[in-house]
C-alpha cells in the first residue's frame, strides 16, 4: 500500500472521529467505543478504505449529540439510526447528503491564508510564501450548483481542489464550478510564492561579550495591509548555555516559559511608539560569547485581508428555491514566520 494512502487515511479517520466525538483523545474514545467501532466498520474493510465522506457516514451512523439523546427519550424510539440505508452513494454526487432542507439558505466563503516567511541574519527576506485555503460552509437545500470566480487567479502558483470541483471550467476560465457538500469543507487550497514584502518587520540584535549577551528586538509595521494587525507575538528559544535572562519591553508582556522559551505578547502595535523588547542574557561561566543564535518566531493575524491579494469576484448560485444569504470573509495569519539573528 502506498505510504501516503495510509497516512491520508489515518488523518481522515482522525478527522471523522473528532468530528463525531467533538475531540480526540484516549478518554473520549473509551467513552464512545461503540461509535468508534461503528465508524471504523464502515470506513475500512479488510484493509481497504471504503467510505470516508463525513456526509455519508453521518447518514449511516448517527452522531451522539444531545438532540438525538433527548429525542430518543421523548419518543421512546431507541434506535439512533435512520431506518433506511441512504441512496446517496448511488447518486452522482457522492459527497452530498440526499436532499437536505434548510429554512435559511446560507453559504459562507472564507479565504484563510498563512504566510510563511524566512528573514535571514542580514534582514533580507529569503523566502516568503502564502499557503491559502478557500473554506466553504454551506447550508443549502436541494442540489445547488455554485460558481465562484476570482478577480486575479494569475497570482496562484498551484491549486488543489475538493473532488466536487469540476475541472474543465477551471482549466478554461479559472472558474470554480461545483455542487457543494453539506456543511464545512475545504473547497480549494493554493500556494502563492515569491511575495515581496511582509506586513510587519522584526529586527533582533544580539551583541555578546564578557559573559553576557545583550538582546534588542524592534517590531513595527512595514507594509500596512489596511486592516489592523493583531495578536502579534514574538518568541524565541533561549540557548542551553544561558544561566538567566532578564527581558523587558515597552509594550506588551514578556514571559519566560518553563521550557526556556521567551514569549513576548504584543497584541496590536500602538500608534505612538514602536514596540521594543530588550534585556540581558547571562551566559554560563567560562563562555565569553554566544555561539548559538536563536531564531525568532513571529505570529500575527490580520482580519479582513488576504495578503496574497487574491480576491473573490462573485459567487453565483443556481438550482435554489429562494434567495440565499452569501457571506465572505478573509483572514491572514503568520504560519512559519521566522527571523534569524
Amino acid at each position: 500500500m502506498p505510504p501516503l494512502m495510509a497516512i491520508e487515511f489515518l488523518c481522515r479517520v482522525a478527522d471523522v472521529l473528532s468530528d463525531y466525538l467533538g475531540g480526540l483523545n484516549e478518554d473520549v474514545i473509551k467513552d464512545n467505543f461503540i461509535i468508534v467501532y461503528e465508524l471504523l466498520d464502515e470506513m475500512i474493510d479488510n484493509g481497504f478504505p471504503l467510505t470516508t465522506e463525513p456526509n455519508i457516514l453521518r447518514e449511516m451512523i448517527a452522531q451522539p449529540n444531545i438532540v438525538s439523546k433527548v429525542l430518543s427519550v421523548v419518543t421512546g424510539n431507541s434506535s439512533n439510526v435512520s431506518e433506511t440505508r441512504p441512496g446517496a452513494t448511488a447518486s452522482c454526487v457522492p459527497w452530498r447528503t440526499t436532499d437536505p432542507k434548510y429554512a435559511n439558505n446560507e453559504v459562507y466563503v472564507d479565504l484563510v491564508e498563512e504566510m510563511d516567511a524566512t528573514i535571514n541574519r542580514d534582514g533580507v527576506l529569503v523566502k516568503c510564501e502564502i499557503y491559502g485555503e478557500v473554506q466553504v460552509n454551506s447550508h443549502l437545500s436541494g442540489l445547488p450548483d455554485l460558481t465562484l470566480s476570482f478577480a486575479n487567479t494569475s497570482i496562484l502558483d498551484d491549486v488543489r481542489f475538493h473532488p466536487c470541483v469540476r475541472f474543465r471550467p477551471w482549466e478554461s476560465n479559472q472558474i470554480l464550478s461545483f455542487v457543494p457538500p453539506d456543511g464545512q469543507f475545504k473547497l480549494m487550497s493554493y500556494r502563492v510564492k515569491k511575495l515581496k514584502s511582509t506586513p510587519i518587520y522584526v529586527k533582533p540584535q544580539l551583541t555578546s561579550g564578557g559573559g553576557t549577551c545583550r538582546v534588542d528586538v524592534l517590531v513595527g509595521i512595514r507594509n500596512d495591509p489596511g486592516k489592523t494587525i493583531d495578536s502579534i507575538t514574538v518568541q524565541f528559544q533561549l540557548p542551553h548555555c544561558i544561566l538567566s535572562a532578564d527581558m523587558t519591553s515597552n509594550h506588551g508582556t514578556v514571559n519566560i516559559l518553563a521550557n526556556k522559551t521567551c514569549l513576548w505578547s504584543i497584541g496590536r502595535i500602538p500608534k505612538d511608539k514602536a514596540p521594543s523588547m530588550s534585556g540581558t542574557l547571562v551566559l554560563e561561566t567560562g563562555l565569553e560569547r554566544l555561539h548559538v543564535f536563536p531564531t525568532f518566531q513571529v505570529a500575527f493575524r490580520v482580519m479582513g485581508v488576504a495578503l496574497s491579494g487574491l480576491q473573490i469576484d462573485k459567487l453565483d448560485l443556481k438550482n435554489l428555491p429562494n434567495r440565499p444569504y452569501k457571506g465572505f470573509r478573509a483572514l491572514t495569519r503568520a504560519g512559519e514566520f521566522e527571523v534569524r539573528s
Binding site: P2, F48, L50, E53, F167, Q237
Partner: protein, 754 residues
C-alpha cells in the same frame, strides 16, 4: 477492526472485578433474553455496551457467548452491530459456539433492511472459522447478486475473506469469475473497486499454482480492462482511484498516442485534494513516459508544483512522505529543481528528519547560479541550536564544494567554520577540508595556513583527529611544525582510544619521515615501537608492515606509502544507480521512504546481520592509508545509519567492485557495481522463483526493473476501445501543450536515466 482477542490471557490483577462482573452480566443478560417488554432494547443496549467495553479493555467475556446470541434477536441496528462485533471477536477461539451464531446471521442476511443484510454478511465472513465455510457460500452468492450496492460491496470483500480462510472453497464456488463479471458490469463504482482489489489479491496468489489465474491476472492489465477503469475513474472514491491508478501504472501502452490520451485524461488528478491520488497519478505519468526522454522531463516540470504544494500542506508525516518522493526525483534530475531551491530551505520548527532530507536536496540542486545563496543559507544553519542539523549542514557545504568548479567562496566559508571555536563545527570542517584537498590540491596553501593554527588538543572526535593527522602527514612539507605535532601525538599514544586515529598516525609519521627525515626519525621510531606493542590487530600489523618495508628498502617504502597522488575527480556514490533505479520503479511505496528497494526490507536474508558494516569500516581505513584514494563515504561509514550500511554491503557483494576501488583512484565504480549487482540480483531472482516456473520470467523482469511488457495481452480486438472524451483537452492540443513545456536540461542526463 475487531479488538485483539485476548481471551487466553488470564485477567490481570489490575482488573480484579472482572470475574464477578462477568457473572453478573451473565445473569442480567439471561433475564433479558426471553423478555419482550417495551423498552427492553434500551436495557439490552446498556448491557451490551458494558460487554463490549470489557472486551475492548481485554477482559475475557467469551463465557457470555451463549447469552449474547440469545439476546441477539432484536430489530435494533446498534444492538445488532454490537452483537456482530462480539461474535466476530470470539468466534475464532470458540469455533463450537460460533456454530450457534450461523443461524441468526444467515437469517439476518435475508433481512429486509439492506444495511442489516450487509452487516450480517460482513460478520458472517469475519468469523474466520474454517469448518464453517460451507455456510458462507450461499449467503455470499446471493449477496453478490443483491440489488443493493451496499450489500454487494460487502459481499465482494466477503469473497476475499472466504478465499483467505479456504481458497479451494472460494475457487470451487466459482466466485472469482462472478467477481470478474461484476467488476466489468456493476453500476456501483465501489463494488467495482472492491472487485478489482479482491481479484488482484486472489489471482496473484493463485497465479503460482494455476495457469488460468496467471492469465487472468495479466488480463487485468490488458487494454480493454485498463481503459474501462480509466473511463470510469471519476466515479470512484479517492481510495479506489488510488487502486485504479496503480493498475494503470503497470499497463504498457502500445502506441505513443495512447500515452498522451491517458495522461490527458488523468491530468486533473494532479490537483486532487488527496495526496495519495496525486502521488499515484505522478507514478503513472513517470512510468508511462520512461521511454520518451523529452516528455519524461516535461512530466518532471508538470509535477513539480503539485508536489511542492503537497509538502507545504498537511501534517509533518504527510509532508515527510511526500518529501521522500520529491527527494528521489530531485536526486534523479537535480537541474529541473534547481530554480526551486528555496523550497528546500529548512524551517526552524521542522522535525529534524524533514530537515535532513531538505539538506540533501539543497546539496543536489546547487549549481553555478544558486550556489552562493544556498551556501549562505547553509552557513546560517551551522549556528543552529540543533547540533546534528548543524553538522549536516556543514557537510552539505562540503559536498557542494566537492561538486562545484568554482569553489573559491566555499573554501573561505569552510575556513571560517574552522575559526568558529565550536568543537563540533571544527570537527566537521576538518573532515571536509581534508576531502576538499584530496580533490583540489591547489588549495593546500590557504587551507594549511588555517589548519596549522588548530591545536590538536582541542580536537576530540576521532574522525576529525584522523583528518587533521592525515593533513599533517600529507602536507608536512609546508607545515612548519608538523613533525613536532606528530611527535607530541605519539607521546600520548596510550591515551588515544580510537584505532582509526592510531592507524592514521602511523601513516602520517611515515609520510612525514620521507619528507623531513632528520626531524621525524625519533618520532617514527617511537610510533613503530608503540604500534608493534599495540593490542589492536590492524594497528599492530600495519606497524609491522611499515617496519619491514623500511628494513627492506626505504625508497620502495616511500613508493608504497607516499606515492605521488592524482586528485580525486569523482567521489563514489553511496548507492549504486541500480539500486536507485529499483527504488524509482517502486515509486509511491515505502521503498522510497526507507530509501531502499523493497527486497531489502521484505526478504529475510537482507534484513539480517548488521555486524558486517562494522567490518567494512575497518577495511576502509586500511585502504585509505595505503595512499590510494578511497570514496568519501567510506570514511563516514560509521555514522551512516543502518539503512545505508545495508546498501553498501549490497554493493560490496560484487568483488570486482571492491577491487577496482583499490586500484584506480579516480575510477567511477558505478557502472561496474551496477553490472555486478544486477547479475547478483538476477541470480537471486532465479533462485527465489524456482518452483514457480510460470512466474519466473515475470519476476526477473520485475526485479531488473525493466519496463518491459509483462506478457503479450491475450489479444482481444474490440475496435470500439477508446478513452472517453471527458478529458480536458482534445488530444492534439494536449500533445502540443506537453511538447511546449520549457526544457532546461542536457540530454546527457536522460540517456543515462533510461
Amino acid at each position: 477492526m475487531a479488538p485483539p482477542a485476548q481471551s487466553q490471557r488470564s485477567p490481570s490483577p489490575s482488573q480484579p472485578s472482572g470475574k464477578g462482573e462477568v457473572s453478573d452480566l451473565k445473569s442480567q443478560l439471561r433475564q433479558l433474553a426471553g423478555s419482550r417488554a417495551p423498552g427492553i432494547d434500551d436495557s439490552k443496549r446498556e448491557l451490551f455496551k458494558k460487554v463490549i467495553s470489557y472486551m475492548t479493555v481485554g477482559i475475557d467475556v467469551s463465557s457470555l457467548f451463549g447469552e449474547m446470541v440469545m439476546c441477539s434477536a432484536t430489530s435494533d441496528i446498534v444492538l445488532k452491530k454490537m452483537c456482530y462485533l462480539y461474535v466476530g471477536n470470539y468466534a475464532k477461539v470458540n469455533p463450537d459456539l460460533a456454530l450457534l451464531t450461523i443461524n441468526f446471521l444467515q437469517r439476518d442476511c435475508k433481512d429486509e433492511d439492506p444495511m442489516i443484510r450487509g452487516l450480517a454478511l460482513r460478520s458472517l465472513c469475519s468469523l474466520r472459522v474454517a469448518n464453517l465455510v460451507e455456510y458462507l457460500v450461499g449467503p455470499l452468492g446471493s449477496g453478490l447478486k443483491d440489488n443493493n450496492n451496499y450489500v454487494r460491496t460487502v459481499a465482494v470483500m466477503g469473497v476475499l475473506k472466504l478465499y483467505h480462510i479456504s481458497a479451494s472453497t472460494c475457487v470451487d464456488a466459482d466466485f472469482p469469475a462472478m467477481l470478474k463479471h461484476s467488476m466489468l458490469n456493476d453500476s456501483d463504482a465501489q463494488v467495482v473497486a472492491n472487485c478489482l482489489s479482491a481479484l488482484q489479491e486472489i489471482w496473484s496468489s493463485e497465479a503460482s499454482s494455476s495457469e488460468e489465474a496467471s492469465r487472468e491476472r495479466e488480463a487485468l492489465l490488458s487494454k480493454p480492462v485498463v481503459y474501462y477503469f480509466l473511463n470510469r475513474i471519476k466515479e470512484f472514491s479517492e481510495w479506489a482511484q488510488c487502486l485504479v491508478l496503480e493498475l494503470v501504472g503497470k499497463y504498457v501502452p502500445s502506441e505513443t498516442s495512447e500515452i498522451f490520451d491517458i495522461m490527458n485524461l488523468l491530468e486533473d488528478r494532479l490537483q486532487h485534494a488527496n495526496g495519495a491520488v496525486v502521488l499515484a497519478t505522478i507514478k503513472v505519468f513517470l512510468q508511462l513516459t520512461l521511454s520518451m526522454t523529452d516528455v519524461h522531463q516535461q512530466v518532471y516540470e508538470r509535477i513539480k508544483a503539485p508536489l511542492l504544494t503537497l509538502v507545504s500542506s498537511g501534517s509533518p508525516e504527510q509532508s515527510y512522505a511526500v518529501l521522500s518522493h520529491l527527494h528521489l526525483l530531485v536526486m534523479r534530475a537535480p537541474f529541473i529543481f534547481s530554480s526551486d531551491y528555496k523550497h528546500f530551505y529548512c524551517q526552524y520548527n521542522e522535525p529534524s528528519y524533514v530537515k535532513k532530507l531538505k539538506l540533501e536536496m539543497l546539496t543536489a540542486v546547487a549549481n553555478e547560479s544558486n550556489t552562493y545563496e544556498i551556501v549562505t543559507e547553509l552557513c546560517e544553519y551551522a549556528a543552529n541550536v540543533d547540533i546534528p542539523i548543524a553538522r549536516e549542514s556543514i557537510r552539505a557545504v562540503g559536498k557542494i564544494a566537492l561538486q562545484q568548479y568554482d569553489v573559491n567562496a566555499i573554501v573561505d566559508r569552510l575556513l571560517q567554520f574552522l575559526e568558529m571555536e565550536k568543537d563540533y563545527v571544527t570537527a566537521e570542517a576538518l573532515v571536509l577540508v581534508k576531502d576538499l584537498l584530496r580533490k583540489y590540491p591547489q588549495w593546500s596553501q590557504d587551507c594549511i595556513a588555517v589548519v596549522g593554527n588548530i591545536s590538536s588538543k582541542n580536537i576530540q572526535e576521532p574522525k576529525a583527529k584522523a583528518a587533521l593527522i592525515w593533513m599533517l602527514g600529507e602536507y608536512s612539507q609546508d607545515m612548519h611544525d608538523a613533525p613536532y605535532i606528530l611527535e607530541s601525538l605519539i607521546e600520548n599514544w596510550e591515551d588515544e582510544h580510537s584505532a582509526e586515529v592510531r592507524l592514521h598516525l602511523l601513516t602520517a609519521v611515515m609520510k612525514c619521515f620521507f619528507k623531513r627525515p632528520p626531524e621525524t626519525q625519533k618520532a617514527l621510531g617511537a610510533a613503530l615501537a608503540a604500534g608493534l606493542a599495540d593490542f589492536h590487530q590492524d594497528v599492530h600489523d600495519r606497524a609491522l608492515f611499515y617496519y619491514r618495508l623500511l628494513q627492506y628498502n626505504v625508497s620502495v617504502a616511500q613508493r608504497v606509502v607516499d606515492p605521488p597522488k592524482q586528485a580525486v575527480s569523482v567521489f563514489a556514490d553511496t548507492q549504486s544507480s541500480e539500486i536507485k533505479d529499483r527504488i524509482f520503479d517502486e515509486f509511491n511505496s515505502l521503498s522510497v521512504v526507507y530509501q531502499k528497494p523493497s527486497y531489502m526490507f521484505t526478504d529475510k536474508e537482507h534484513r539480517g546481520p548488521f555486524e558486517f558494516s562494522d567490518e567494512l569500516g575497518h577495511l576502509s581505513i586500511g585502504a585509505e592509508s595505503t595512499g590510494t584514494v578511497v570514496p568519501a563515504q567510506r570514511v563516514e561509514a560509521n555514522d551512516k545509519d543502518l539503512l545505508l550500511s545495508v546498501s553498501e554491503k549490497e554493493e560490496s557483494g560484487g568483488p570486482s567492485n571492491n577491487a577496482s576501488a583499490y586500484s584506480a583512484p579516480s575510477y567511477d565504480g558505478s557502472s561496474v557495481s551496477a553490472a555486478a549487482s544486477s547479475q547478483m540480483l538476477s541470480e537471486l531472482a532465479i533462485s527465489s522463483v524456482t518452483g514457480h516456473a510460470s512466474q519466473s520470467s515475470l519476476a526477473i523482469d520485475d526485479l531488473l526493473g525493466l519496463g518491459l511488457p509483462v506478457a503479450p495481452a491475450p489479444a482481444p480486438s474490440p475496435p470500439l476501445l477508446k478513452l472517453n472524451s471527458k478529458a480536458v483537452l482534445d488530444p492534439g492540443t494536449f500533445q502540443q501543450k506537453w511538447r511546449q513545456l520549457p526544457i532546461s536540461l542536457s540530454q546527457v542526463y536522460f540517456s543515462t536515466m533510461t
